[in-house]
Subunit: 246 residues, 2 copies
Amino acid sequence: MIKRQGLMKKLAAQPLYKQVIREVMTAVEAGEWHDDENLPSEVELGVRFGVSQGTVRKALDSLVNEGVLYRRQGVGTFVAGMNDFLARGLFQPLTGEDGLTPKIELLGCVRIHAGEQLADILGLRRGAALWQVRRLLRVAGNVIGLEEMLLPEAGFPNLDIRRIRELKGNLRELCWRDFGIRLRDGEVRYRAVAASQSEARLLMVDLNEPLLQLVRLARDFEGKPQVWSVAWLKTDTLAFEPAPFA
Amino acid sequence: MIKRQGLMKKLAAQPLYKQVIREVMTAVEAGEWHDDENLPSEVELGVRFGVSQGTVRKALDSLVNEGVLYRRQGVGTFVAGMNDFLARGLFQPLTGEDGLTPKIELLGCVRIHAGEQLADILGLRRGAALWQVRRLLRVAGNVIGLEEMLLPEAGFPNLDIRRIRELKGNLRELCWRDFGIRLRDGEVRYRAVAASQSEARLLMVDLNEPLLQLVRLARDFEGKPQVWSVAWLKTDTLAFEPAPFA
DNA sequence: TTATATCTTTTGTCTTATATAAGACTGTAG
DNA sequence: CTACAGTCTTATATAAGACAAAAGATATAA
């Protein structure tokens, strides 16, 4: 039961609906409800947290807005299946609204050490151990993207290639199921760059071919940087647009 | 005064808050309140439309979310100054969070005829008259972007270079102030392309230099396509990210 | 068996009451 | 007269409760 605000003013209690957001979020992270399984009704949640349906509703509103949940009138509220960290947000193939679902192929996962710049970005000391994960994105068999991710080893101990392969590219799910880190979407930055030798080889394009580069820093819900990722995309046949929310 | 829903069920009346959204939107479009001028209070608006404060609030919520309005607790609700059609959405210079405000330079505005493809996109017949507007984007004096817009002449009669120049790049404002067309943000598609001869010349880069290409189709609130625009950006020194909402 | 009505559960909408925030105003100590 | 602290006023923000609408599930009649 959430305590009513205002009883202890000096503690700067958060509004009830924000407390409910946290509670529900925690429950979702804890896996209390499966993906696409419906939550208890708003009224039931209200009883559980000691608030009204309207307050639960306001809380769920914001989670729906963030894409964590989705609703169907007269039916229920559901946990939004964790879309792939890649597929949602970074990659959203546009051409042909038919779902050209991308396939993701793991290239490798190695342990490296942070350079000055990376250490700075991720808020680590220089030389800190990092995992470098590289993946290839295919649509209809054709290679169209390359992705490189960097995660601090400290936050993700024992990350190995097998675990990554198991979940078909769904990094977000791995992060909270195995490491208790829930990723928020970070902002993505877009650049056009010329393909370097290695990118050209992997993407099977000519050297200096224009590639769309996406760079993102994903943070957890406390705002701490957790995953740095860069992707290079061929956009000669497909264009990309930022993922729309449900 | 908005009619209470449910009185005439068969008319499929929209919920009150949606009606309020339309009313407020119309008033904003009509210029009833200036940019950054505050609207009447939620209670007053409630009286005006014959609904409660809570309902007005729900309506304003969505307009705030869309970026049309912004709020300050204890102070009021304001019309969000129309950000430039370019600056908001298409261009959002990232590097250095200090507002490197872009300057926009008009290159020209000419009347052309729609090719098959364009006619199709804009929902016009082939050969329909179009305005082609080209603009240059500068940040700190350096040219970093080129934009080309195409608008049907039918919807924008008497569009001339002077009128465009007057409003410092603010196409959206022109659209509704002069032509009664309120643009919604359309989705933007991102591509990396090699600079063509003309782009290279205007942007002062080498031929085939990688450029970030943004393509957008802006629609009005009825969903009718109104403006087709393409932009080419140099991203060697600046990166771009989609505009965050207030 | 099939279509239709009604019941139940769930989300969606709307109002009312109250809390919180921010300026403006005002009286007072210095 | 000025600086400062209270308080008043007017905003938005939050919370609860009543009711509407939608979607299945179930029962019922042809």
